[in-house]
Each structure stands twice: as C-alpha cells, then as structure tokens.
C-alpha cells in the first residue's frame, strides 16, 4: 500500500482525470467519521459540498451497507447516485431479489430476537434492520469480545445461512447469493459507461472491491492495514477533505482542456 496523497498516488489520481472515471465512495468511516451510534453518522458539511461539486463534473456514487432510504437522509445532493445494502439496492435493482431478501431478513430478525436472551443484559448490542439486510452492532457493548462470540453463535443457528460481512464492531448479514460492493461497482461502471473507477472505503466490506481482479479500478483504503488489497491509503478519515479537494481540482483542470 502506498500513501494516496503523495507523489505516486497523486499521479495516478491525475491520470484518472484524463479518462471517463467513476468516483465511488463508502459512507461510514470514509465520507462520515465513525461514531458510537450509526443513526448519528453525518458527513461533515465541507465533505458533502465537495462531493456535490465533484458530482457536477464526473459520475459519483456512494456504495454503502446502509439502505438507500437511510442514505438519502444523509446525502442530499441529487447528482450523487446511491447504492445501498452492500449492492442489493443498486442502479440496476431487481425487484425479485429485493423481495426475497426482505423475506429472509424478516425470518432472521424473528430468529435472532428469539435467541437474543444471552444478549439481553447488554444494551450495547442491537439489531439494525435495513429491510434487505441486517446489521448486528456491538460498538457500545461493555464486553465486546463476549458480545461478538454470542452473536456468532446466534448467527450459526439461522435457518438460511447468511453471508456475514464483518465491519468495525458490526456484523452485516446479507442474503447468500446477493451482490457485494465489488459487483455493485462493476455494475455501476457498465451502467454509467465509464472506462475506469476510483473507489475508497475503510472497512472489511470494502475488500470485496479491493480484491477485484480488474486493472481498471484504482482502490484506496482509509487507514493503513497490512493485509488489505487496496493499492493506496489515507492515514485517517480527516484526510478525505484534502482528497476531495484534489479530485475536484484535477477533474476541473482536465475538463477545461
């Protein structure tokens, strides 16, 4: 991994601005800082304004584990396209797949609540219902290790085994066979007719993009991590403002020619 905001990373960012590139961003931990409660996550005003400026020049998508309904309350600029539920709610949403996912999530939720007893004493563990997937949060748990083990054991009892995507103090349960962020990005590239893509995310769910064997995608991670497959990294989420400023400047320069 190389630092994105230094010489070689900046050079690659500049070269992306010479062609039709899709700029894709994860939301939590990338556009918005990580907070204790997922409901209070917000992208700082400066980031939202820069993202909106970028979207006026080039195609921009936000690919998140959140539902689109939720994302819409956090990203107001209509020029930014939204892909939710790890790609299930995308630019090419299939109604049948969504109906199936909703049904499975209702069953999972009922099964989880039934077996929730060992976690009842821990108010820091809760289920977030994202309609087409579930997120089991334990960030506010007093004993994260125990909560994590209890959640794993509960998940193993679910009737339709989910695809479990681990995040930062969260376990995302996605119906098996559904798309992931990598598939969502590739679909968005096809749909929007771009030749390349730039993607940045901070979490294990983003490794589905980082590991794509596709040389048209340049990927970066917020926070350096030894085993990540991303090519570049930002030191911390607060560097997002500098990155977006650079992208706005580079794309504006390239379009002016």
């Amino acid at each position: 991994m190389k630092p994105l905001l230094q010489k070689s990373g900046l050079q690659v960012l500049e070269s992306l601005s010479f062609t039709d590139t899709l700029y894709a961003f994860d939301f939590d931990g990338t556009l918005a800082p990580i907070v204790n409660s997922p409901t209070s996550a917000r992208a700082p005003e400066k980031i939202e304004s820069l993202l909106s400026k970028l979207a006026q020049q080039v195609p921009v998508v936000v690919i998140s584990g959140r539902s689109i309904l939720d994302l819409k309350t956090r990203i107001r600029a209509s020029s930014i396209r939204l892909i939710g539920n790890h790609g299930l709610e995308g630019l090419t949403t299939r109604k049948g797949a969504l109906d199936r996912a909703r049904k499975v999530c209702v069953q999972w939720k009922a099964q989880l609540q039934k077996g929730w007893k060992p976690l009842r004493a821990d108010p820091g563990v809760f289920i977030e219902d994202k309609e087409f997937s579930l997120a089991l949060h334990y960030r506010k748990s007093r004993n994260k290790k125990e909560a994590r083990a209890a959640l794993f054991s509960l998940i193993s009892t679910l009737e339709h085994p989910p695809r479990v995507i681990l995040g930062k103090c969260v376990m995302n349960l996605v119906p098996a066979g559904g798309p992931h962020k990598g598939v969502a990005l590739l679909e968005a590239m096809v749909k929007l007719g771009t030749k390349c893509a730039f993607y940045i995310g901070d979490d294990d769910t983003d490794e589905d993009v980082f590991t794509l064997p596709d040389t048209r995608i340049i990927a970066a991670r917020v926070g350096r991590k030894k085993n990540s497959q991303a090519q570049y990294f930002l030191q911390r989420q607060s560097e997002m403002t500098a990155l977006l400023k650079k992208l706005v400047q580079l794309t504006a320069d390239s379009r002016s020619k």
């Binding site: 991994m1 070689s8 050079q11 690659v12 010479f18 390349c196 040389t215 090519q231 020619k257």
Partner: protein, 116 residues
C-alpha cells in the same frame, strides 16, 4: 523489383516518413501516440498488460516506454501491491502531447503529400 514488393516498400517508407515528421513536429510518433492513448484509459496498468492490449511484444515496448519516459509523457512507478512490478500512468505532459498530436496530424499529412 517485383511491383508488389515495391508497393510494400513504398508504403513502409511513407509510414517511416510520417512517423519521423510526426515525432519531430508534434513530439510523438504514431506508436507512441497509440501507447499513450491506451494508457489514458488504463491508469496504473502494468507494462505487460499494455503490450498485450496494443499488440506489441514486451521487448519492443521497452524502447518506446523509455523514450516516452524521457519526454515525461508517462510516469513509471512501483506497483503498490507488489514492489517487484512496475505500473504506468499518463502524465499531464503526455496528455498535452496527445492533444497537440490530435490537432496537428492532418497538417503533417498534408505537408507530406506535397510534391517535393
């Protein structure tokens, strides 16, 4: 000389003249332009991949890449995933050379067509 062979040789000489004139006046030969054009849509690609896409043998590509690197039209760097490998990207100077080439090629062709 066999007239077919003569035509091929004449064609080869014409291409050679065009390449030379383009590089002298516009800063890029036809092959160099093709390489940059391909690289524009494949930022951060590996030299082998570029050779494969353009249809060149990797060993022939090396010389062209060296010339383009001297012109600062491309950027050669270590692959962030594997430091034994290299990646290539188009630079702003390279992009400007491509624009100059696009705008000037017709002029070069017209001049070459003029009888001496």
């Amino acid at each position: 000389m066999n007239s077919k062979v003569k035509r091929w040789v004449d064609l080869n000489l014409a291409f050679h003249a065009l390449n030379k004139a383009a590089e002298q006046r516009l800063g890029l030969s036809l092959v160099q332009y093709r390489l940059l054009e391909t690289l524009r849509d494949m930022p951060g690609c590996a030299p082998n991949r570029l050779a494969e896409t353009v249809g060149m043998h990797p060993s022939s590509l090396t010389q062209s890449l060296k010339r383009l690197n001297r012109k600062q039209a491309l950027f050669v760097d270590e692959d962030p995933r594997d430091s034994r490998k290299k990646i290539l990207s188009l630079t702003r100077l390279g992009r400007d050379l491509m624009i100059r080439f696009d705008q000037g090629l017709d002029g070069v062709l017209t001049e070459l067509k003029k009888p001496e």
